[in-house]
């Protein structure tokens, strides 16, 4: 049984079929790439998987459970976390608060306890903080925990966004162009981070990426999307060698 099973997924915006008949099957532990030219509908697929858009056709199964039509916050609880193409951090919160807000359902206490800092408050907050620091340590961000997240350098902001997503302990992590805007050094560091978290957290990853070096370097399998439809899928090397894919995507160099 695959971890993520997408069947005939589709959405149209005012007559325009943005994603059509999209199928995808990702096994547990895989690092899977979703590639395709600009405007192919890759981010739309992410938005469909995470409930930002409601699909007009098809089904999404996570670990055998039907999660089609769930709200975004429910889907996170179902086990999918994501990052965004244009980084979406909580800019006016500190680095550690960004992670702690993602941990909010791990240690619960009532609003009354929150307003008067009594009861479970102190213990829960201490645990949350320790846990957040632990996560930040994995991403080498623990020394910057008190900095405002918007003051982090670009590469670190990307990392923090991944750390925040990981804090929700997802089964499946969706990364939307994690290397966008990064220099080769930062990209290399990012590839290490991605491999590291996969090993350390035993997680399944689906990523959208334009950087072919990164895709062929770390993705075992890819799906190519073109005009909202699947053009090819399979082992990365084979797919990237497919002449049709080269014509549609790689030939159309940007």
């Amino acid at each position: 049984m695959a971890l993520l099973e997408v069947k005939d997924l589709g959405i149209s915006f005012g007559g325009l079929q943005a994603v059509d008949n999209f199928n995808l099957s990702i096994e547990k532990g895989e690092l899977y790439g979703l590639i395709g030219p600009n405007g192919a509908g890759k981010t739309t697929v992410f938005n469909l998987l995470t409930g930002v858009y409601k699909p007009t056709a098809g089904k999404v199964f996570l670990d055998g459970t039907d999660i089609t039509g769930h709200r975004t916050e429910e889907i996170n609880k179902d086990g999918i976390a994501r990052t965004f193409q244009n980084i979406r951090l909580f800019q006016q919160l500190s680095v550690i608060d960004n992670v702690e807000s993602a941990l909010h359902s791990f240690e619960k206490y009532s609003t009354f306890e929150a307003m008067f800092h009594c009861g479970r408050y102190a213990g829960a907050e201490k645990k949350l903080r320790e846990k957040a620091l632990e996560i930040l340590k994995v991403f080498d961000l623990d020394m910057m925990s008190e900095i405002l997240s918007s003051n982090l350098p670009y590469g670190q902001q990307r990392k923090l966004e991944i750390a925040r997503a990981m804090a929700t302990e997802p089964k499946l992590l969706l990364l939307d162009e994690p290397a966008a805007g990064m220099n080769p050094n930062e990209t290399a560091e990012l590839m290490d981070t991605i491999s590291l978290i996969r090993d350390k957290f035993d997680i399944t990853i689906l990523l959208i990426e334009h950087d072919m070096k990164l895709v062929s370097g770390i993705c075992e399998k890819v799906t190519v999307l073109n005009f909202g439809k699947v053009l090819a899928e399979g082992e990365t090397k084979k797919v990237l060698a497919d002449p049709e894919v080269i014509r549609a995507y790689l030939g159309d160099d940007e």
């Binding site: 915006f13 981010t43 938005n47 930002v52 858009y53 965004f84 800019q91």
Partner: protein, 295 residues
Amino acid sequence: MMSFLTSFVNGLSLGSIYAIIALGYTMVYGIAKMLNFAHGDFIMVGCYIIFIFSSNLGLNPVAAILIAIVLCTLLGITTERVAYRPLRNAASPLAVLITAIGVSYFLENLALLIFGADTKSFTSVVPWAGISLFGGSLQIQGITIVTILVSLLILIFLQLFVHKTREGQAMLAVSQDRGAAMLMGIDVNKTITLTFAIGSALAAVAGALLASAYPSLTPYTGAMPGIKAFVAAVLGGIGSIPGAMIGGLVLGIIEILSRTYISSQLADAIVFGILVVVLIVRPTGILGKNIQEKV
């Protein structure tokens, strides 16, 4: 039956005024993506200008209205340039909203200092007494007829302008995607300035009609009609020009009918109750399109 017809016609007239104001709101909201809280106060400024030139200085009402249109347009452009444009890309969307409230408050209090709190009695800009139907049992005032006609003319003019001219097309483009419009070589600043100019000119026209139909003028004259016109714009579908027209008419009729048949004290509550119902049932309004936030 005749009293119902009278109320209905009065509602149509008030609704036409709301529609003209709502057109300004909806265009600014659709294109500049901001709620210009001071829009209602532009109306009040227009009223006072007409009052000075027409009642005090004895100028021809039409000339006074033209002066008011020019001055209100300048006021709108200046306000946008000085107070709103610097905050267009502010980190918080509340920044420009709070500033607009500041502008509204500024205009009201400036008028209070200059003209005082006492009510000025406004002379109607339409001297025509109107017509009488059904042997005198249905009286329709001249200003009522003029108001309805003017609002229709404005609607037709705006529809033609937006769909048939370069500037209008630029407005549509900016309202749909400001970034893409900029990439296509559209001058976004100029387009937004033009939008404010049109909106403010319409406010002056609305002011002339409003003060003629309800001839008591105070610094707060524009505030309530302004807010109700925003409700009308939401009801019709914010961002939609025909929507503003429909929303304005519906709201005006409901308000006058509630005043006549339910309670004049509760009429305002009913109008805002409609806003709440719209927000619950259909937040995009009657003609509004569902806009997906870009992720």
